[in-house]
């Protein structure tokens, strides 16, 4: 097609026009050698034309002859590996600099063997807490040799979609001087994947939609600008000097008038994950006017074009698609001849295929009927309206007349809030006061009474063709109006402060994950093993097992029941089971009775106990050898009430509902997972207690809000008080509560820890050699340390809980009971009302205080409702 187009162009008088983007821009994909996966994070040229590519895998590759005739087969060699990502690369004077998560590095090959042997750390003065989302992006240089980079916020507690800035300058754009001095330049960015410096030394940064970021914007970076994501403010002088921390859901004081507005908002329909951008200075070789920009877009797999103009001192402009169907474009780089290289990657982020690689995009010889530019027009006295002029590359066909039916303009704005992104708000189709073509038919003027600042507009033009009949390749364009060309300046934003929506609840709260982590730690059992199991293809009555942690199976000799150590009253039991042919199994629900499990749909899910026997009301069992989820909701009998089997779901199908068990014994009891006959496999055993022990005795509530001045901080952590919730953040340190002389006592609190964080509640606390000591009850969901939530440490003695009972970022009710006796001091730990750990400490600590501990950097430990009963 393209060859044909070029040939025709040579032989025909009239220029040949592109019928599609593909006719106007060719794509060539580099074939990479085995072992080379180009997940591109940065690109630049050496002076001899070789292309240097850094990848998210921390490798740097060199592509020989990237502008040669046979790009597909260009030679690729490995220059370096071992970087902690490489999401930006710059070459200046043949010096290669790359940005890793923790530093800007210069890579040198001093012995000339084609491999990097010296790495110089140019700059590293910013924080890395270790959260996966803390990407570091870059790395263009300005005319003075400064590097420009952007630092992602992390995510975390309390809701995973909330950005965090737990280490310095997360959520900032930084300038790094040639001597390595790091200057925090602008704040309020979220995921600044694209950083660019243009020929006028203007710095542009793209961001990705998320909390506080309505859609994907392009910022024009100003010194001390604040672009809207509040968490970065933690590192401003104002916040640091007062100890203030940005709130998750309440907009900061700067929100109303202190934000620096993005120059362009890219509509969500075009960009969902924006990469970097480049200023086209190829003199039209790529089909763009000099000074327009090419923007990388990952998810939709394309490149966009953008143009900026300054209006009353404010940069703003237009954006439209340019070449689609390329692949997940993360980086764009232009060669002097106009060729644009697209570096692809989307691992873990998703996006259009291909997901990795390098693409060479070139403008063909065919003419293209396309957008040439767009500008905001000043107020027109005649029509009494502002408007836009859209320029085309060629005159519009004589048959096309501009009418309000063919040209549509909508306006919209966004919400500025903590929720993820914003829909387009106040979407309005604007009534046009004027729509006309210039005399030479290359410029379209569109005017409306309703063009206002602090909005975006999108204009759609239907049916435009060149005089050759070629279609306008991009009939839709968007413009961000921060300011109008005349009149009073507005201090409103496109993205407007609105009341935030309510928080959402949790689904995991209250659950004890009995088989997570140390799978057998919360059970009394013999003959059960943690293995991977599947139906033996040669003998359907057996399992084939292999080393793994997929299932608890009763394959040992003389296997007993699998009995929970804790006792339960009312509970929701979730378990998945697998049965071979002819095995029988069951779950004994305390004193209520047994739920029977058979590899037979007519029987599976029947219940027997205390004189009651019922079959399942539906055939829900799948087949032998398949995992089958089982959910049981039951209530234990009490003195006042009989027991109930409220609901049983097998494979998501209700098989028993509302069954009363009149003669069931009362009280709490363990749950038994039973292998009656043959083998059975269980996995993902979770119990959510639905009751709580009675609150006997007199509780003393610690109202931190009232007594905050009496709480004392020691060590390197920080605790803050927010909405009656204590929030501790590592590194190692303690917060003393104003409580003294705890002897025989019970302490309760709601606690929550982030992934990989760790903390503790310390009862009978006292100053020791290694900080605060005492009965240290661990709160640790997933930090790789044997002592998970519920473990107790007491000096040299410890009683560890290896099971990961409580998920990260999930509230749990923790109760610690400390009591002196003849054998020493007994420490009993309850989680969500269930006894999970007990330790007898022979040398019993003296009565002491109460303290909270943060273990290490990156910890976010939350505590509510602390109370003490003596």
């Amino acid at each position: 097609m393209i060859t044909l187009a070029i040939c025709s162009a040579l032989f025909a008088q009239d220029p040949v026009f592109a019928a599609s983007e593909a006719d106007a821009y060719t794509l060539e994909y580099l074939k990479t050698p085995d072992g080379c996966v180009l997940e591109v994070g940065g690109m630049d040229f050496l002076s001899d034309g070789r292309l240097v590519v850094s990848t998210r895998r921390g490798q740097v590759w060199i592509v020989e002859d990237a502008l040669g005739t046979d790009f597909e087969n260009a030679k690729v060699t490995l220059f370096h590996e071992g970087l902690w990502e490489g999401l930006g690369l710059n070459v200046k004077n043949d010096e290669i600099h790359v940005i890793q998560r923790g530093e800007i590095s210069k890579l040198l090959d001093t012995d000339g063997d084609g491999r990097c042997d010296v790495i110089e750390t140019v700059a590293s003065d910013w924080g890395v807490s270790g959260h996966y989302h803390e990407f570091a992006f870059g790395l263009p240089r300005d005319s003075e040799g400064n590097w420009w980079m952007g630092l992602n916020v992390s995510f975390g507690d309390p809701e995973w979609w909330h950005g965090r800035s737990t280490a310095p300058y997360r959520g900032w754009v930084l300038r790094v001087s040639p001597d390595g001095t790091v200057t925090p330049w602008a704040s309020g960015v979220r995921s600044p994947n694209g950083v660019a410096v243009d020929s006028q030394d203007r710095v542009f940064v793209t961001d990705n939609q998320g909390d506080w970021v309505a859609s994907s914007p392009i910022y024009h970076i100003q010194k001390d600008g604040f672009y809207g994501h509040p968490k970065s403010l933690n590192w401003t002088e104002d916040y640091r000097s007062t100890g203030k921390l940005a709130h998750d859901e309440i907009p900061p004081a700067q929100a109303a008038t202190g934000r620096t507005t993005p120059a362009i908002w890219i509509p969500y329909q075009w960009s969902r994950s924006t990469g970097n951008l480049l200023e086209d200075r190829s003199g039209g070789a790529f089909g763009l006017e000099d000074g327009q920009f090419v923007v990388a877009e990952l998810t939709n797999g394309m490149i966009l074009r953008a143009g900026f103009e300054e209006v009353q001192g404010q940069l703003q402009g237009w954006v439209a698609p340019l070449r689609q169907e390329i692949g997940s474009v993360n980086r764009v780089l232009q060669a002097p001849d106009g060729t644009v290289f697209c570096g692809l990657t989307n691992r873990g982020w998703g996006g259009r295929a291909p997901a990795d690689g390098l693409v060479r995009v070139r403008r063909t010889a065919a003419e293209a009927m396309d957008l040439a530019g767009m500008t905001l027009l000043d107020f027109d006295e005649e029509t009494e309206s502002f408007g836009f002029e859209i320029a085309f590359t060629h005159p519009v066909h004589a048959d096309w007349a501009p009418t309000a039916e063919r040209v549509k303009m909508i306006s919209y704005d966004y919400d500025y809030w903590w929720e993820y992104g914003s829909p387009e708000r106040h979407v309005t189709e604007l009534e046009l006061t004027d729509v006309q073509l210039s005399e030479d038919r290359t410029r379209l003027t569109v005017r409306s009474f309703d063009i206002f600042p602090a909005t975006c507009v999108r204009i759609t033009m239907d049916g435009i063709q060149a005089s050759s009949g070629a279609p306008l390749l991009h009939p839709e364009v968007s413009y961000t109006i921060n300011q109008l060309p005349s009149g009073a300046l507005t201090n409103a934003y496109v993205s407007k402060v609105v009341p935030p929506p309510p928080s959402r609840g949790e689904t995991d709260a209250g659950v004890l994950r009995l088989s997570w982590g140390d799978a057998l730690g919360q059970f009394e059992a013999a003959g059960w093993e943690l293995v991977d199991a599947s139906l033996d293809p040669e003998d359907g009555q057996r399992f084939k097992t292999s080393v793994g942690n997929g299932a608890l199976v009763n394959i040992g000799a003389d296997a007993t029941d699998l009995v929970t150590r804790g006792s339960f009253g009312d509970a929701h039991v979730h378990v998945e089971f697998m049965l071979p042919e002819d095995s029988t199994s069951g779950v004994k629900l305390g004193n209520l009775g047994s739920l029977n499990l058979f590899p037979d749909a007519e029987l599976c899910g029947s219940f027997m106990g205390n004189g009651v026997a019922v079959g399942p009301t539906a055939k829900a069992f799948g087949e032998a050898g398949a995992w089958c989820p089982l959910d049981i909701y039951y209530r234990a009998a009490t003195e006042e009430s009989p027991g109930f089997l409220d609901r049983v779901e097998l494979n998501g199908v209700t098989v028993i509902e509302g069954l009363e068990v009149p003669n069931a014994g009362t009280g709490r009891a363990p749950i038994r997972f039973v292998g009656t006959k043959g083998a059975v496999a269980f996995r993902n055993i979770q119990v959510k207690p639905l009751d709580r022990p009675a609150d006997a005795g007199e509780w003393e509530f610690l109202d931190a809000g009232a007594s905050w001045d009496d709480w004392e901080l020691v060590g390197d952590c920080n605790f803050e008080l927010e909405n009656e919730e204590l929030i501790g953040k590592g590194a190692l340190g303690w917060l003393w509560a104003p409580v003294e002389d705890l002897g025989d006592a019970t302490v309760r609190a709601r606690v929550k820890i982030n992934a990989n964080g760790a903390g503790a509640l310390i009862v009978r606390a006292a100053d020791g050699d290694d900080g605060v000591e005492g009965y240290e009850v661990r709160v640790n969901a997933s930090f790789p340390d044997a002592a998970m939530t519920g473990s107790v440490r007491a000096g040299e003695t410890s009683a560890e809980v290896g099971s990961e009972l409580i998920a990260a970022d999930t509230w749990a009710d923790l109760e610690v009971d400390v009591r002196d006796g003849e054998q020493g001091t007994t420490v009993t730990v309850y989680l969500n009302g269930v006894l999970v750990n007990q330790m007898v400490h022979a040398d019993g600590f003296e009565p002491g205080g109460l303290a909270l501990r943060c273990d290490h950097d990156g910890t976010v430990f939350k505590i509510q409702n602390i109370r003490v009963r003596r």
Binding site: S105, G348, Y420, T507, P616, W627, N651, H856, D857
Partner: protein, 357 residues
């Protein structure tokens, strides 16, 4: 028949609750109903789950064009692209919790774990193929020359911290040194395979997985030991790694010596190599510092000291290292990763000194 089998199974089950008052055959309690019709039978059909729970918004084909009228378009799964990741774990999270600020509801309370997994897998399968890292592909291997890696290392023991800014040096001999880049402290030595860069499997940013066996680790005290001090004030100086250099079989770490305020007062090098003792390689690290704006000196090393001979001071550290300071190089400390200053070690050390001459 059905009941008989039920009872048979029950009687075989010593651990099942005995029927207190077994009813007669065919006489189930009143609540019992006839076994249900086949319509309720359900296997985990991922597509059916998708059609039931997702298609009304995301479209039957996953193109984002469902029948529901939404204030913003539902995500098209055909294009891929997930703001919080396209791994099963990430998609699961969106299914469980919903996506705030969008019409995407939470299914955590309505769907079971297997159903959520099935839906997540199905949704991912609708999108374009992504880059899939096969197990083993992310293993970094040291071949014929040392390799220098930056990244985050997991805590190496209870009470130690995860180290986001680690510098790991692997040698062809299978020895791996793990340093903190910010102060050049050696934290562990391992022997065996090198590293697994597991974060390739997801969105990146997770810990490196050391593959070797731990042969040495820094004690709590030595983790915070500063090798050099300001000669006048006695203030500890931080050694921040500024440059790494692979030179033949050896690796040099060049560091800045920084005072408490982060001002550079000098610099130095750490030289990583091996001392051959009876053909067994003993890791050897020589650390040399020098002051520029201020005079610096080695900090005294706690441990058992013994004067080896006329020209070498030898200290056995509490970490189980042998540290040597030569009389004519008072600003250089040489650590030998050996438990004691044995005659054969002394001889090899002496020979290597002479070799340098």
């Amino acid at each position: 028949m059905t009941l008989k089998r039920l009872l048979l199974a029950a009687s075989a089950a010593a651990t099942l609750v005995a029927l207190a008052q077994p009813k007669g055959a065919g006489e189930l309690p009143a609540r019992d109903q006839a076994p249900s019709t086949p319509e309720t039978a359900l296997t985990l059909d991922d597509k059916a789950l998708y059609m039931e729970h997702c298609a009304s918004c995301h479209g039957e084909s996953g193109d984002g064009k469902g029948n529901e009228e939404l204030e913003r378009p539902a995500r098209s799964f055909l294009l891929g692209g997930y703001s919080y990741g396209n791994t099963q774990k990430a998609v699961r999270r969106s299914v469980i919790h919903g996506i705030p600020g969008t019409p995407m509801p939470a299914f955590g309370a309505t769907l079971g774990t297997d159903e959520i997994n099935a839906v997540a897998d199905y949704v991912i399968s609708l999108g374009p193929p992504g880059t899939i890292v096969q197990p083993g592909e992310s293993v970094l291997v040291v071949e014929d020359r040392p390799v220098v890696v930056k990244g985050m290392m997991p805590a190496y023991e209870q009470g130690a911290f995860r180290e986001p800014r680690s510098l790991i040096v692997g040698f062809p001999s299978g020895t791996t040194f793990q340093f903190r880049a910010e102060d050049s402290r050696l934290l562990t030595v391992r022997q065996g395979e090198f590293l697994d860069r597991r974060d390739w499997g997801g969105r990146g940013g997770s810990e490196l997985q050391p593959l070797g066996t731990l042969t040495w680790k820094a004690s709590r005290a030595s983790r915070d030991f500063t090798e050099f001090v300001d000669a006048e004030s006695g203030q500890g100086l931080r050694r921040k790694v500024r440059r790494t250099e692979i030179k033949g079989d050896d690796v040099w770490l060049h560091f800045d010596l920084l005072d408490e305020g982060g001002t550079r007062v000098g610099g130095g090098q750490e030289f990583l190599s091996f001392l051959m003792v009876n053909d067994i390689p003993v890791p050897m690290r020589a650390i040399l510092g020098s002051g520029e704006s201020r005079a610096v000196k080695l900090r005294e090393l706690p441990g058992r000291e013994s004067r080896a001979n006329d020209s070498v001071d030898v200290t056995t550290t509490s970490d189980g290292l042998v540290a040597c300071v030569l009389d004519d190089a008072p600003n250089m400390r040489i650590y030998l990763h050996a438990p004691a200053w044995t005659p054969s070690l002394a001889a090899a050390f002496d020979a290597s000194l002479r070799k340098k001459d």
